[in-house]
């Protein structure tokens, strides 16, 4: 495996990433130009063959999503870029938006052409001021260069792009909730099905893709699916931006092939445990993620290996705790997060997330209450509409499984 090779990172190193001329000079928009010479169905085939999976957290095959959205259900279709990054421990999309805004927007224009959409929105969280200004500049430059709007790059394809702002809601990162928010409503999840590809924004077919997912698209179109598949594993193709934070020497965002070991990420990329410490636990996937014990440090970081070990890759966040940190306290911090972010639509989640924190407090002196914590979380997961309610069980279950005696 070639862990040094990267697809997105070279673009993140540019000092003037918001300058369209330097993006063009470094080969930018070649993927788009190649795409416009292909048929939409050919593009979808290329994305499907590449094995690209959604980088927002769910890991759903991107090609399948595009194919579904491309079906001729309506004259009007939309593409939305989900830039509502809010998973604790995740800051990769922020980096792409600030340093390489043209890269993922190029991917977005290709996606729009492939599914037949003429209007797109980038839904970005309101707190990301730097990203917002970088994207605003990028959109206006692309209009000036004929890369958005009427007859893109001299082709008959028309695509308009607008930026939309969130206002501080974790839940709006969930695609159907994002769509509700984009329509100017409270961020409540919708019942699915129908999925966005059937009835999304304004009940029209809509494709929702994460920033990092779209940032991979220009490379796939330009270099081909085989070149993309040189990175990663059979079922988890390509590279991933891993966000490593917590007790490491060099916290940061690192691109590596999927399937790299957790050990390599921690020691070769993030400089090892802070102050030569000993690892205590890893939380992968952010708050909606799972604990991994140090005994599994050689685990391969790809969708399927993690799933086989009841763990999740999620957004690519890896939060590192050294062995002096209390897993009990950290779990409390995760549960406080969910209590704050539960939207209140589903009663079991609204009351349940509050209750989880109560039970967690009891567990401090009464470890015999831990099964109650797991039971409550399992109930919330079963009875909630959206992934938020389905998340607390992940950290609770994995913490109890791996750290039964030390929590």
């Amino acid at each position: 495996m070639n862990k040094q090779h990267t697809i997105i990172s070279p673009f993140l190193k540019h000092e003037d990433g918001d300058n369209i001329s330097s993006y063009i000079e470094s080969g930018g928009f070649q993927g788009l130009k190649s795409a416009l010479m292909l048929s939409p169905s050919k593009i979808i085939d290329l994305i499907t063959e590449s094995g690209l999976r959604g980088r927002g957290g769910a890991g759903f095959p991107t090609g399948v999503k595009w194919k579904y959205a491309s079906q001729p259900r309506s004259e009007i279709k939309y593409v939305i870029c989900n830039a509502d990054e809010g998973e604790p421990g995740t800051f990769k999309d922020k980096l792409i938006m600030e340093k390489a805004p043209y890269l993922f927007i190029e991917g977005m224009v290709i996606a729009a052409y492939a599914i037949g959409a003429s209007k797109g929105y980038i839904y970005i969280r309101g707190e990301y001021s730097k990203s917002i200004s970088a994207i605003q500049k990028a959109i206006s430059e692309m209009y000036n260069h004929g890369l958005l709007g009427e007859s893109i790059a001299g082709n008959s394809f028309v695509f308009d792009l607008e930026i939309m702002l969130g206002a501080g809601s974790y839940l709006c990162g969930e695609e159907l909730t994002l769509i509700e928010s984009l329509e100017g409503k409270r961020g409540y999840p919708r019942i699915k099905p129908p999925f966005p590809a059937e009835k999304g924004l304004f009940l029209k077919p809509t494709l929702v893709n994460n920033v990092e997912t779209l940032a991979n698209v220009p490379f796939i179109i330009q270099s081909g699916p085989d070149a993309y598949r040189k990175f990663g594993t059979e079922k988890s193709a390509g590279t991933k931006l891993f966000c490593i934070s917590g007790d490491v020497e060099k916290p940061g965002c690192f691109e590596a092939s999927l399937g790299i070991s957790l050990r390599e990420l921690i020691y070769d990329f993030a400089g090892g445990i802070k102050n030569n410490g000993t690892p205590g636990a890893f939380l992968t996937g952010g708050a909606a993620g799972t604990f991994i014990p140090p005994s599994l440090i050689d685990i391969r970081m790809d969708y399927d290996t993690l799933q086989m070990n009841n763990a999740t890759l999620g957004s690519g966040a890896i939060i590192v705790l050294d062995n002096t940190k209390s897993i009990y306290n950290f779990l409390g911090s995760i549960l406080r997060f969910f209590k704050h972010e539960s939207c209140g639509k589903c009663v079991p989640c609204r009351i349940g997330c509050y209750n989880l924190l109560k039970i967690w407090e009891q567990c401090k002196d009464h470890p015999e209450c831990y099964p109650d914590l797991e039971k409550e979380a399992a109930y919330i997961a079963k009875t909630s509409l959206c992934p938020l309610g389905q998340s607390p069980i992940l950290s609770i279950k994995s913490a109890l499984h791996h750290f039964k005696h030390s929590i």
Partner: protein, 150 residues
Amino acid sequence: MDIYQIISKYEFKRENLLKILHEVQTTSGNNFISDESIKIISRELKLTYSHVYGVVTYYSMFSVVKRGKNIIRVCCSPVCDLKNSIDIIIELENCLKIKCGETTSDHLFTLEKSECLGLCDQSPAMMINDKEYGHLNSDQIKKIISELTI
């Protein structure tokens, strides 16, 4: 800019509501959205008062009460919590002589807790308005606040 000018910049569609609310709040002078503003926005966009009020109160970045000129958002999500963001809150509370969630009497600062700000590689971190501050410690807090107080 008055509220009618802000609204008139956008098409009168519900999907522009969040953008309008952001702009109304930023230009309010007190970082909030008044009841009067909610009434005007709902009338102009042909939405009910309860819809607009419901949206304003759903999103944590919006406020229906007056806030300070500078909004301090201290990240308290799991990574920053691990790095003792609580100490940053306490230092700010001492510096500003207010509790978290309150506004200073001179209306210069409002201190708030925030969920993940995407600054996990620089934790503990915070934002003051649009500016990011990372790798925080007590001494820096004093310096940052005194610079903004002048």
